[in-house]
Symmetry: C2
């Protein structure tokens, strides 16, 4: 059963249960999905403030892109928990013989990479939506100004929450070149987000 | 149909549709519900770091309180949209005769007050959970540190997003003493949140 197919109240109950998944990675993606969807909503509302056909086209394209990002973030709610479950499964691999130990270690490292890359993808999608917010704020319906504020808050929380999840998984990785590459991308995403003017 | 009974993917789709509800108020409450639930999860995980029975009791009580706050925030997902729908319904009341006009105006003001109080309640619940986070961060399972970071990010986004929704509704209210009282509470909640050390 996918988390995103659960009733909302059951997903929240699952976050609250002592099982490690679903946890913060999925919750970050959920907040991002809600934020990106709100931007799509504002862009699609009637009575927008696009003064020209070109601006109306830009608003529509931006809203459509935010809708796609919301879909991707929703998928990441599921993928993040699956990635963490794979880490737990790898830790449970047999470790009696030397071959088993080597296979288990390789399995853990591979699963940890995926568990780091999944919230990194959440960061990418949420950051792209944050960068789209100023267009929606400027051209979208004036009556939905507070929705744009909420969207930006949720997307920023998604970026920062997902970042904490990337970083905690990087700590267990031995491939230093890989870790360095991911750390650089994290910093670059943070720089991009900090350049976006607040709504 | 309550929003919280919908499959998660359908709620996100509803946020993305051009209808004004569900909007930012419900999305803020959703982020808060996920954040509070994550704190409840971390507090309930085995291998906590409570050194004494007293601390273990504090952690358990704090986690239980966060669970309750998560439930309240989940209910606010529904209540926020209902409150906004009531505003829209009040605007649609007949306005031909003077009596109708007076009744419509009073109805709009009453509905607007509820639409301001509902996200204010979201602020209250999310702020209380933010204040609980340091106990969970200190005594909860060390392996869930990133979950506490995510929880705090989501709860802070819930407070700020809900604040934008209180404020936009206060703008239409004529009861200046009431508006002043709510503005003071908003500021007080912000002060409380800013005093909480970051996890």
């Amino acid at each position: 059963m996918k988390l995103t197919h659960l009733p909302v109240m059951d997903l929240i109950a699952a976050f609250g249960s002592p099982n490690p998944t679903p946890g913060g990675g999925s919750a970050s993606a959920l907040a991002g999905a809600a934020g990106a969807a709100l931007l799509a909503m504002v862009a699609a509302m009637p009575r927008n403030r696009a003064p020209t056909a070109e601006d109306a086209g830009l608003l529509q394209a931006t809203g459509a892109r935010c809708g796609k990002l919301g879909d991707a973030l929703l998928e990441l709610v599921d993928r993040d928990s699956e990635a963490y479950d794979a880490v737990v499964a790898a830790y449970r691999l047999p470790k009696t013989t030397d071959d088993e130990k080597a296979a288990r270690k390789a399995g853990i490292q591979a699963a940890m990479k995926r568990a780091a890359e999944t919230p990194l993808e959440t960061m990418r999608c949420a950051a792209e939506a944050i960068e789209a917010a100023p267009v929606v704020a400027r051209l979208g319906s004036a009556s939905a100004a507070s929705d744009v504020v909420v969207a930006t808050e949720l997307l920023s929380a998604a970026v920062r929450g997902a970042r904490a999840n990337v970083e905690i998984n990087l700590e267990s990785l031995e491939d230093t070149a890989y870790v360095e590459r991911l750390r650089e991308e994290i910093s670059e995403i943070d720089r991009r987000c900090s350049r976006v003017p607040s709504s």
